[in-house]
């Protein structure tokens, strides 16, 4: 019957989307490793070298290779310690290293921060506030007065022993950097445990 034939044809037409979608073969279309074209900071490493030698360098590292969420970030300290342990009789020079370990090869983000020093500011905070005195020693190229950058620091522990935290913040401030923390966005905000002995 004519009617039946038309219905059959219509059913064939109905299968059409499956046919031309199948051409794309999206079953075999697989996701690529994350973030090849995106910038991601996965690792913050703070290395503190005692001034004038004498004793090993201290390091604190925050690492979250799979980005936001997923596996929890891992915080480690030199020698498997539970915190950064400062000697109150010493001062330290500090250096921040920022990495993107999701890329192959690994991308060193702190180099980009240095290149664009006029758009970045590192901020250091301790709790209690006097636990460590941290001074930014590097400057950007802002005119007329350069502002601090903060990849390079000197750290002076207080004279009395105690424990607390050390917070490292990277502010991204394109076009709005004024030497204060307020303008811009936060690109890094990590907190380490610290102790003065």
């Amino acid at each position: 019957m004519n009617f039946l034939r038309i219905t059959q044809n219509a059913l064939l037409l109905l299968a059409l989307p499956l046919a031309f979608a199948a051409c794309k073969d999206d079953d075999k279309d697989n996701p690529q490793p994350n973030n090849q074209d995106n910038e991601l900071i996965t690792t913050v490493r703070y290395t503190l070298t005692p001034v004038g030698g004498g004793g090993a360098a201290l390091t604190a590292q925050y690492r979250d290779v799979d980005g936001d969420g997923g596996a929890a970030p891992v915080i480690t300290y030199n020698g498997g310690a539970a915190r950064l342990i400062f000697d109150k009789s010493k001062t330290y020079t500090g250096e921040i290293l920022l990495l993107d370990e999701s890329k192959s090869p690994i991308d060193t983000i702190s180099n980009e921060v240095l290149e664009e020093a006029n758009e970045h500011l590192l901020v250091y905070k301790t709790n209690p506030a006097n636990l460590l005195t941290i001074t930014r020693t590097d400057l950007d190229t802002n005119t007329p007065t350069p502002f601090p950058l903060g990849l390079q620091t000197t750290v002076a522990p207080r004279a009395t022993a105690g424990t607390g935290t050390l917070q490292v913040i990277l502010r991204h401030q394109p076009g709005v950097k004024d030497g204060t923390e307020t303008p811009g966005d936060t690109d890094v905000d990590v907190t380490f445990a610290a102790e003065v002995q």
Binding site: A15, P31, D37, G69, T182, D185, D189, V190
Partner: protein, 797 residues
């Protein structure tokens, strides 16, 4: 055919009351029922025109309702002719000497000559369905031109929107949104990135000549994503008389200095009358929106849309091809693009956004770039005595690129200017329906349908939702029985869904693809009744049962999106925690419609929706720690929910000039498992408008202006007080205070160059009040738009 114009369906509020069209008011009524002479069945959608004794028009006309009834009110005594028209029937003209209320119930005869063409050209009668469907009235459609689809729909009582700044509106019906609302654009289910709350529908509303909303579950007809309701956009049928016509709409707004222009050109071939077509295009451009005190920096947008249709329409069959593109670049409020919780608190505590600035048309970072393409082929066939078969095949491509506030630090990467998040969604749908011929003397009618969807989603850039392939096959049947004043309807549907999700795990050096396959069989059932309780009262009762399978984002989304960390349910299951299961929704609604009354008309809908396994996004504590610090964090969970409420609309007409319109909507949403309120539900709202008409309603000799009106309206929205007692631990701010806004509009129709030209000026938030809305995702950072004046001009030719 000239009469097809008369048959344009007239719904609800759009129905211009006949009495207002007459210059004098004498209070007599002609009413009756139009029937088919052979079957004695009522003829819904038949046209009734009142003529003077000399055959000249009085301007009064109406159409019969779903039960063939009509009413012409407030007529003066005198001699008239009443003309009854219905496609496929011989017209009937009755001469009337009117001196008391009269009942005329004509029985129209089949017209054998007209019948052939009439079958295909007749507009389908107004669907009288148990589930209430409300169309945007002609007045509302006119005064929302130039707005986004979602904003225009909020004119319908019971419909609100989740907004993201001044230009992104996501429709919300009776408290449900996103994955629970289906948008049917020109007969095709809109498939884009519907899951995101800040993803507005990628549709140009200028394409549609009619916008309507099915308030409540329509899952049997439209599939499991229609638990909350359906938004229907219907373009006008292609031109069926030889020649060329069109329309031009121009809109200018003062607040964001928006300009919008839309033009449509319709044509029908003189040589091949079956051939017809349309081209249409819209451009919209807006700069920074201003609140009473400051500019919302980077809130401009630039949009360009176009569409084309070509059809071949024969007596018993027709084919049509339709293609459209929607393209927009939408700025996102700079101040909203905040970092971690510390930044967020800083932004919240600021009395005004931390970044404001001045007016600009420039759309800078952060922004969204959206392109949605639709190609649709449809065909219908009406073999004599075998009903109607319709086939629609459509392909949609939805590309959404989201750009963060700052480009990458790496210069080489920054130079490529890639979006930080980019989603690509490709969907092919096919729908086959058969309206079977009426049987048992016309008492039974029904539709049987098959539908298929294949959807592939990919992304590049940052992970937020996974790659997935979604295949759905559905079959449904809806049957109706009409007898006397009753209509009963029952429907059933079965959907099979196969969802394959692919995720990349690990790092670049060591990565693998995790594939998860899900299969669901979800049923939907519906039952309903319509009772024409009297000539002026229709009641509808509807009940549905449906299941919805979890969407890929509800299971597997993960990452920071617009300053919020969001996570699907199944990614981080606690030991013993079950993965998401389909949610089951039971709905019931009751609607009473008072219609065709001379003075008071209105509609009241009461509903209750109970969803077991309701999937929703809720804040999680402690917030997820990222290298940028802790972010406000949300995760999808499942609970049981009950949403109940009512919508009311009323219109009181004081002939000949005045009209009062009132609307109110209330939603009560409970988490019945936690015995608490659901978060992010619309607050109670009400609206009152007073409208006065001046001069003749239709162009008339000796008058330069017609249809002149002035309207003043007030809208009040309460504070949402029905929130959890521990709200401070759920949201960053308490719901904002209630507000009320004053609006006004004047308009008229000028006849220029023998063509009518609609002109109007509308003002919103005339008192320039500072306010924030609970459902605006930017309410934490910024106020809503201040005073805005919009000038609209429309011409048809």
């Amino acid at each position: 055919m000239a009469i097809s114009g008369w048959l344009a369906p007239v719904h609800g509020w759009a129905q211009a009351p006949v009495e207002r069209l007459l210059t004098t008011n004498c209070g007599l009524i002609i009413s009756g029922q139009v029937l088919d002479h052979e079957t004695r069945q009522p003829l819904p959608g038949a046209t009734v025109v009142l003529l003077r004794a000399d055959g000249s028009p009085t301007g009064a006309a109406t159409t019969t309702d779903a039960f063939g009834n009509y009413h012409l009110h407030d007529l003066c005594a005198g001699l008239y002719r009443v003309r009854f028209l219905f496609v496929g029937y011989v017209e009937e003209v009755d001469e009337v000497k009117l001196n008391r209320p009269m009942v005329i119930s004509p029985q129209l005869h089949f017209d054998a000559v007209q019948l052939q063409s009439a079958i295909v050209r007749a507009t389908r009668p107004t669907e009288s369905a148990p589930q209430v469907s409300t169309a945007l009235s002609a007045n509302d459609q006119r005064s929302t031109r130039g707005q986004t689809l979602g904003e225009a729909l909020t004119r319908i009582s019971g419909v609100t929107a989740i907004t993201t700044g001044p230009s992104i509106y996501k429709p919300m019906i009776h408290g449900l949104h996103s994955n629970r609302i289906t948008l049917l654009n020109n007969g095709v289910r809109q498939e884009g990135q519907q899951w995101g709350q800040e993803h507005g529908p990628e549709i140009d509303p200028f394409v549609a000549s009619e916008l309507s909303v099915v308030k409540g579950a329509a899952t049997v007809r439209y599939g499991s994503d229609a638990i909350g309701g359906v938004v229907l956009l219907k373009p006008a049928p292609l031109r069926d008389s030889a020649g060329i016509g069109g329309a031009v709409h121009l809109v200018g707004a003062s607040n964001n200095r928006m300009g919008a222009a839309s033009a449509t050109l319709d044509g029908n071939s003189r040589r091949w009358p079956a051939l017809r077509g349309r081209v249409q295009g819209t451009v919209r451009r807006a700069g920074t929106t201003r609140t009473p005190d400051y500019y919302l920096s980077n809130s401009g947008f630039a949009e360009a849309d176009y569409s084309a249709a070509v059809g071949w329409q024969q007596d018993r069959w027709g084919v049509e091809a339709f293609g459209s593109r929607f393209h927009t670049k939408l700025g996102i409020l700079t101040a909203s693009h905040v970092g971690n919780l510390t930044d967020l608190r800083r932004a919240f505590e600021a009395p005004r956004p931390l970044v404001t600035g001045g007016f600009s048309y420039v759309v800078g970072r952060p922004y969204q770039l959206i392109t949605h393409d639709l190609l649709k082929l449809s065909a219908h066939w009406q073999p004599i005595g075998r009903g109607r078969i319709e086939l629609t095949v459509a392909h949609q491509t939805d590309l959404r690129d989201e750009y963060d506030r700052f480009p990458p630090r790496n210069d080489a990467l920054a130079a490529r200017n890639l979006p930080e998040l980019s989603y690509q969604n490709r969907t092919t749908t096919a729908d086959l329906t058969w309206d079977h011929p009426a049987w048992a003397g016309g008492a039974f009618t029904g539709t049987i349908g098959l539908s298929g969807t294949r959807q592939g989603n990919t992304f590049s850039g940052r992970y937020f939702i996974p790659y997935y392939t979604n295949q759905v096959g559905g079959v449904f049947a809806i049957e109706r029985w009409v007898r006397g004043r009753w209509l009963l309807e029952a429907g059933a549907r079965l959907d099979y869904r196969a969802l394959l999700v692919k995720r990349a795990l690990g790092t670049a050096a060591d990565y693998r693809v995790q594939r998860d396959q899900f299969r669901y069989l979800t049923p939907a059932l519906s039952a309903g009744a319509v009772l024409d309780a009297g000539p002026h009262l229709t009641t509808r009762l509807s009940a549905t049962l449906s299941q919805r399978a979890p969407a890929p984002n509800e299971r597997f989304s993960q990452g920071v999106h617009n300053g919020q960390y969001e996570e699907g349910h199944d990614l981080t299951l606690a030991p013993g925690e079950a993965p998401l299961r389909p949610e089951t929704a039971r709905t019931a609604s009751l609607t009473a419609t008072w219609h065709h009354n001379p003075r008071l008309n209105g509609e009241l809908t009461a509903y209750v929706t109970q969803i077991s396994g309701y999937i929703y996004s809720t804040p999680i504590l402690p917030p997820v720690l990222t290298i940028r610090g802790p972010f406000p964090s949300y995760r999808f969970l499942q609970t049981d929910a009950r949403l109940a409420g009512f919508d009311a609309t009323a219109r009181y007409t004081l002939p000949p000039h005045w009209e009062v319109l009132a609307k109110a909507a209330i939603v009560r949403a409970r988490d019945t498992r936690a015995h608490d309120f659901l978060i992010f539900q619309p607050a109670d709202r009400a609206e009152l408008a007073v409208r006065r008409a001046f001069g003749p309603a239709q162009p008339a000799a000796g008058h330069h202006l017609a249809g002149t009106y002035a309207q003043v309206s007030g809208q009040a929205v309460a504070r949402q007080t029905r929130v959890s007692a521990n709200y401070d631990s759920l949201d960053y701010q308490q719901p904002p205070a209630g507000y009320w806004l004053l609006g006004a509009e004047i308009g008229t129709t000028v006849t220029a160059f023998h063509q009518p030209l609609d002109l109007s000026v509308a003002g919103t938030n005339l008192l320039n009040r500072r306010y924030r809305d609970y459902l605006n995702r930017f309410r934490y950072f910024a106020d809503e738009q201040g005073r805005n004046l919009t000038v609209r001009l429309s011409a048809r030719f």
